[in-house]
Amino acid sequence: MAAVLTRDIVKRFGEVAAVNGISLTVPNGEFMVLLGPSGCGKTTFLRIICGLEQQTSGDLMIGGDIVNDIPPRARGVAMMFQSYGLYPHFTVRHNIAFPLKTQGIPGAEINRKVEWAASLLGIGHLLDRRPRQLSGGERQRVALARALVREPTALLLDEPLSNLDAKLRTSARQEIKQFQQRVGVTTIYVTHDQVEAMGMGDRIAVIDRGQVRQVGTPSEIYDEPADRFVATFVGAPPMNIVARDGGYLGFRPENFLPKDMIKEPAFTEFKFRVDRSEYLGSERIVYGVLEGLDPKQIITAKLPPAHVADEWIRPGEWHPFAVRDSALRYFNNDGKRTSRH
């Protein structure tokens, strides 16, 4: 296990910079999530760390050594791929044993480690099957076992849950996280799913267009977004952003409430016209516009349905809404966070 450190990594494909200067430090044992929209360069960055791509410039350090020119097999990192990349012609046992065999580890040792990894992930009974005889969740565990069996310096995961159905994804999220805590391996996890990122990451690095926009704990990312991109990318529905006083004002839909629900003394009031609402069981999402603003800009509010009766929300009606001042976020014209206008 080792810390992973990158310094100004750039990767160009012709004219396009897929990764445009990423400097990131992942301390030993941390679960770091790289979160970004598709095509933002996060997977390319991961492939550079494991050595499948060579960076155009910048340094990569694993465990304190610069590994820029070291081939993947000598970096000691393990990677789990989006579609798992299991070897279809091998049994599960053989799949898990493969990274050990390439290292020339003696057979008895290989058997011992395969049994260890299989029991850790609860797939001991599947060892003699082939990948096509396994379910999606089982395949994912086999891939994880294969990645962990040689006790890698770092574990890289490239959207490992995207091939699972929604229900399985929730339990797999738990499993991977618990598992990582138990083994304590430095983990870099790539996803475009903010729920995965918020739920699993010790820290999250939000990436857009090949650059890190913010690194922080899930609550820092959510509550103190560094810029408008992070503010609107994280959170569902995203943060409302309205132009005001030569800058931008941001507030999360769950903080945008009917005025009489605000308990704090300091708040900012808005007149809100409801256009449409969605009842989602645990919450109600209300869409509308603010008085004095572009009527095409849709503002969302997330209300607890227990507090707001159905007949209260009628399309076309104006209501007094407010946001407590502590929940307001300010951004300048470049989209960067500022303290106030």
């Binding site: 494991c50 499948l52 097999r73 990677m79 299991l86 070897y87 279809p88 012609h89 390439t102 294969r146």
Partner: protein, 309 residues
């Protein structure tokens, strides 16, 4: 309501949608192929079986039944045994050579390099050139006097003019020559098969192998080869069947010579049955291919089915 009733379509005649029925349309579509096989393969095959059991020659078309005596004659003939042996050497020699060349050709063509598309198109050429034309070209290359191969070997100082090999005039070299020409002809097919197989392997699997520490050989022989084995095996079945029954290269280049060293079953059957007019013995020789190919094909198909992944 009246308008609604009028808009209901009138019942159609029973046969109006006959082509929409899968079983009817399917039978019609497949019928030409079945007719073709029955008339142009099935009937001649049954005739060959009958000829091989009769004393039929073009001089004495008697059709008299003689049992298995034609086969007995053929098996007791040492020339035939030599021919059978030659056929195996020719088939498996050229297939193995073609597969090895095809594998490396595919590996080269998978890497990006300037002009790759042009080279890929060029590789198909041996397939596209009419075999008669190609055979003439190869004949000149293997010619005892004007061989460009010998000229190169002499220029490189490997052989001298006096002991330069007579490619088509020496038994072993003649066999080697026809094997090389057939492998050359099979090569594009092998390249296509390998290219198709390798490009169908998911990139994740190859990447996983790289990260798991597999080097070039391990990746090729423990991951790529086993994964493309089923498709290569299908290609090989085709190659074996076509080569085992082929007579064109031998006919055009060596006429089975020197002294029968390159005579193969197809050629011998043609010589005996058509050229010499001994139809019954020619049929018997040709029918020897059947059990051999049947065993090879069934074994390969079983192997493929077991390897399906």
């Amino acid at each position: 309501m009246v308008a609604l009733a009028e808009s209901v379509p009138k019942p159609h005649s029973r046969f109006q949608f006959i082509f929409d029925r899968r079983n009817v349309l399917g039978s019609i579509m497949v019928a030409p192929a079945i007719l073709y096989v029955l008339l142009l393969v099935g009937v001649p095959f049954l005739m060959a079986v009958y000829y091989s059991l009769s004393a039929y020659t073009i001089y004495d078309p008697s059709w008299s039944f003689v049992g298995l005596s034609n086969f007995e004659d053929v098996v007791e003939d040492p020339v035939f045994l030599q021919t059978l042996y030659n056929t195996f050497i020719f088939t498996f020699g050229s297939q193995i050579l073609g597969l090895i060349l095809g594998k490396f050709g595919a590996l080269v063509l998978l890497r990006p390099f300037p002009g790759r598309k042009f080279v890929r198109a060029l590789v198909i050429l041996p397939w596209a050139v009419p075999i008669a034309l190609a055979a003439v070209a190869w004949q000149w290359m293997f010619d005892s006097l004007y061989s460009v191969i010998n000229w190169t070997l002499i220029a490189l100082g490997i052989v001298t003019r006096s002991n330069a090999p007579n490619w088509l005039g020496t038994p072993h070299l003649a066999m080697l020559s026809v094997i090389v020409v057939n492998a050359w002809r099979f090569f594009p097919f092998a390249v296509v098969i390998f290219l198709a197989g390798i490009t169908a392997i998911p990139q994740d699997v190859l990447d996983a192998a790289t990260v798991d520490g597999a080097g070039f050989w391990r990746r090729n022989y423990q991951i790529i080869m086993p994964m493309i084995l089923p498709i290569v095996a299908v290609g090989l079945v085709f190659g074996i069947v076509f080569t085992f029954t082929d007579l064109s290269i031998v006919f055009l280049m060596t006429m089975g010579g020197p002294v029968g060293a390159t005579s193969v079953l197809g050629f011998a059957g043609f010589q005996t049955g058509i050229v010499s007019g001994d139809v019954s013995h020619g049929a018997a020789i040709s029918l020897f291919m059947l059990p051999v190919l049947l065993i090879v094909v069934v074994a390969m198909l079983r192997f493929i089915r077991r390897r399906e992944i």
